[in-house]
């Protein structure tokens, strides 16, 4: 196959069901497709139009192509088809290209319109080449469609077998560590002296019944008690005082923050 065949559509036979090129469906004349869905963007439309010139893409008449594209866009607009912005951008660019190409050579802008036209041509060639390549790829004998692998292979199974390693020293050392770790440890919970809330409640209310003056909370504590029991008694008596105050059996007063807490019974 020569180069031309690759670049030029017809030499490569499209398999009809793989790729239904829009151009292949169009008739010779002006029966232009006015379905925008048919093309994937302006470059695609341009390639389609170019292929209708039935010449090598390298010999394509860019001016003719521009005219065809602009005609297409005009028709679409006449039919009030909504054109995507990129089609209009391409139309504007092509209109500019056309006018630049028609200018006398010395007045042509930079980059030259020839260069722009060539660039467009190169892009069309590349897109066409890939489109043909795709069609040929899809037409190959494909696995699972044209050729098949074994339907029910037995499968190869690799069972992994572990060879465990351990040496004498590791074994003996591990036992030593188990023994060292698990030497019996006895935990003794010390018996702490506490005054329960119930006994504090009984004690405080009994003492309140006897004395009607303000008394410091600390005066309610058992005088000869162990200091540790005293701490417990203070906490319990405080909670008992709050409880009695809540029940309306006692009043609590404190003159300043962290000052002594005073307690007085209320006559029922």
């Amino acid at each position: 196959m020569n180069e031309e065949g690759l670049i030029d559509g017809p030499a490569v036979s499209f398999s009809e069901d793989e790729w239904q090129g829009v151009a292949s469906a169009a008739t010779e004349d002006q029966a232009l497709y006015l379905e925008l869905d048919g093309w994937e963007g302006p470059l695609d439309l341009l390639l389609d139009l170019a292929r209708r010139q039935k010449v090598d893409l390298r010999r394509i008449s860019i001016l003719e192509l521009v005219d065809q594209y602009l005609t297409y866009i005009e028709q679409a607009e006449a039919l009030r088809l909504e054109l995507a912005a990129d089609y209009l951008v391409m139309a504007a660019w092509l209109a500019y290209l056309k006018s630049a190409l028609l200018l006398p050579r010395e007045e042509q802008p930079d980059p030259s319109p020839e260069e722009l036209a060539l660039r467009l041509q190169l892009r069309l060639q590349r897109l066409a080449a890939m489109r043909d390549a795709a069609a040929r790829l899809m037409g190959r004998d494909r696995l699972g469609r044209d050729v098949f692998q074994r339907g029910a292979p037995e499968g190869l199974r690799i069972d992994r077998k572990n060879l465990w390693q351990c040496d004498w020293f590791a074994l003996v050392q591990a036992y030593g560590q188990v023994k060292a770790r698990t030497v019996p440890v006895v935990h003794m919970v010390r018996d702490r002296m506490v005054m329960t809330l119930d006994s504090a409640l009984a004690r405080v209310s009994a003492m309140l019944g006897v004395n009607l003056d303000w008394m410091d909370l600390r005066d309610f504590l058992p005088p000869q008690a162990d200091p540790k029991l005293k701490r417990s008694a203070l906490a319990s008596s405080f909670v008992a005082a709050l409880e009695l105050a809540r029940l309306g059996k006692a009043e609590i007063a404190q003159e300043h923050v962290f000052g002594p807490l005073k307690l007085r019974g209320i006559k029922a």
Binding site: L6, L118, L122, D141, G144, F148, Q149
Partner: protein
């Protein structure tokens, strides 16, 4: 019949996936399987089932000329959209290639889903990033792509040599630079070739 050939034959028949010569060799305890593979390939050449190499991996498959007998109505291969086939071709012929490069060739944005479909099919995968600003992800085809399309390697891609020789796999910028250097070539060549049509 040679025992090694039989063993390679049995291994490949039983395998659920194509196997490289190395994998077969490992499976068979390190035997050199090159000759056995060549012999099997030859023995099966004319049969209804053939041994083929695709992307350095070997598998048995039915002969292509029997496709009409075997084509299954029920599981039609998924039809790819035109966009997806084009993207696949671009990846295959240009790999590794970034999405921007694909889009430059197609002239349209490529929907995210298009590459996803190809990756889901197992034909395309991400192979890294291009070390340019933005570090775009780059794509390439997989061994599964080669086996699915019956290609021994990417060299078998239809027409790839001609496309390369024609410069059609080079970026537009390169081709443009080349064309601008020798502006006459483009005009004389086509005229000569006309007679070959």
């Amino acid at each position: 019949m040679d025992e090694l050939v039989r063993a390679v034959e049995a291994t490949l028949f039983a395998a659920e996936e194509p196997m490289s010569a190395e994998a077969i060799s490992t499976h068979l305890g390190g035997a050199n399987v090159k000759d056995a593979l060549a012999e099997l390939e030859e023995q099966y050449r004319e049969r209804g089932v053939q041994l083929v190499e695709r992307g350095k991996r070997w598998h048995f498959q039915t002969a292509p000329d029997l496709a009409h007998l075997l084509r299954r109505e029920r599981e039609e291969t998924r039809r790819l959209s035109r966009a997806a086939t084009e993207v696949l071709a671009i990846v295959a012929y240009h790999e590794p290639v970034s999405r921007a490069e694909i889009e430059a060739i197609r002239g349209v944005q490529t929907a995210k889903g298009t590459l996803d479909v190809l990756m889901e099919a197992g034909w395309v995968r991400i192979v890294g990033r291009r070390e340019v600003p933005g570090r775009p992800v780059i794509y390439a085809t997989t061994p599964l792509f080669l086996s699915h399309f019956g290609l021994e390697s990417r060299k078998d891609l239809p027409g790839i040599d001609e496309l390369r020789a024609a410069g059609l796999l080079d970026p537009v910028e390169d081709a443009l630079a080349a064309a601008m250097d020798v502006p006459d070539v483009g005009e004389t060549e086509p005229a000569e070739q006309e007679s070959t049509d």
